[in-house]
């Protein structure tokens, strides 16, 4: 049952992850110094992970990926009118949402881990750049990676939460966006977990209390 549900969710969202992987790859290769247009290598004069270029690129693409996944898994069911089909399955509503969130979060975490590993692998390879590298330098990227789960959960919440006005509908996303930036910049790991727990609780609450008319 869980396998069927996860497989369905992955089948519906895998293309978003593949597009994101392509964008990550292009952007990461550019950061490494390879110009994809002219196919010429130009050495970069920044320290990998320490100079902030990777963080801003990675944060932007990851936020887009996370929001696309969250919206696709929630609002799409409303557009297609498939909520009744899904919610009439003989399982609890929390189970349906839990399965969706597991698939979406898992896909985000795996996909977004790829560019960090790629860039770190390149940075750790001797002779690729003229600066020191320690694996601990990737910690900031991993914290952004984790913090952006908040964007995914907020987009999911926006997708299932009924609201008449687009402004009030997007409110959770805007609020969470501000919080995620603060948490990622200040590296408050515990704050990220608390925010995610609050968002998951809100998703379960809305999913169980809203009307699917």
């Amino acid at each position: 049952m869980l396998r069927a549900m996860i497989a369905k969710e992955l089948r519906e969202t895998i293309w978003i992850a593949l597009v994101a992987l392509g964008v990550y790859l292009v952007a990461t290769v550019e950061l490494m110094g390879y110009n994809l247009e002219s196919m010429v290598y130009m050495e970069r004069h920044w320290i990998p992970f320490a100079s902030g270029e990777f963080g801003s690129m990675f944060g932007t693409i990851s936020a887009c990926l996370a929001m696309a996944l969250g919206f696709r898994q929630s609002i799409w069911e409303s557009f297609r009118g498939t909520w009744p089909v899904l919610l009439h399955r003989p399982v609890r509503r929390r189970w349906v949402m839990g399965a969706k969130l597991s698939a979406g979060l898992g896909l985000y975490l795996v996909t977004a881990a790829m560019p960090i590993l790629l860039y770190a692998g390149w940075a750790a390879t001797p002779g690729t750049h003229a600066s020191p590298f320690e694996w601990s330098m990737t910690l900031g990227a991993w914290q952004i990676w984790l913090a952006i789960t908040g964007f995914y959960l907020a987009a999911f919440l926006v997708g299932i939460r009924p609201a008449r006005w687009i402004g009030s509908r997007l409110l959770p996303l805007v609020g969470v966006g501000v919080l995620v930036v603060i948490l990622a910049v200040n590296r408050w790991l515990i704050g990220i977990f608390i925010l995610d727990a609050c968002l998951v609780s809100a998703i379960f609450f809305v999913a169980c209390s809203r009307d699917y008319s």
Binding site: R11, R80, P84
Partner: protein, 307 residues
Amino acid sequence: MPDVIVTDRLTKYYDRRPAVNHLDLRVPQGSVYGLLGRNGAGKTTAIKMLLGMVHADIGTAEVLGEDSSRLRPQTRARIAYLAEGHPLYRWMKVGEAVRFARAFYPAWNQPLVEQILDHFELSPKAKIRRLSNGQRAQVSLALAVAAEPELLILDDPTLGLDTVVRRDFLESLIQIIQRRARTILFSSHILGDVERVADRIGILVDGVLRVDCPTEHFKGSIRKLVLEFPGPPPQFPECVGLVGNRQVGRKLEAIVVGYGEEHRRLAESLSPRSIEVIEFNLEDAFVEYTRGPRRSLPIFVGGEPDA
């Protein structure tokens, strides 16, 4: 027979307007109940409240003996639901849709679903997005029935289907009903379909259940009196059961519910040249009944449930 569906003053408001208003509905086990109403009458909202998809503002609903807003998964497994428009995952193939649904039901009847798909000549390799409305309805029906439900709730299952497909769909439905004593609640505004399969009907008018009786009882209750006059016809006198009256040339047409001796006497008191009493089929009875002045609509909830 115990009642499979029981609602008590079930009410839902949208924008302070009642979409469903104090619905008291009883569907006996083994019956085929047709829930009728014009567009926006509240049929879909009522059905969604029965399935716990929409929360009632007032009142309660029990389905298979359980509060519909808190249906346990085990109870849900005993209820099949065909949503309006037959929403399915369009990227799936028919076989994938079957495998996905099968994963949730312990009592899944795979030979039955294969038999139904075979009957409708639907290949498991066919993409759902390439299927016609009728074929999607057939897939939905196969998926619903394969779970071996005790209760089928169908929301306008023949909407958008052409006549031939509709007839085929209904014949399959009749076979399913006959296979086991299942209870079926279905909404529709195609009256011919309802007449073919339902043994009891309910009519919702602006969210209010105005009729709840055996199908034959309803048809037999509505009459049109056609009174012909030598000159301009008068108005039909106000009386119990008068749904509406209109003048057509030198004729006066009056629609009455529960036609009886009093109506005949009133008609004769107008001294017409001739009086004709016309019986209706279900469709005409429904049309005449629902387009009359609504506030004066007579309510005959009850009837003879097992008649």
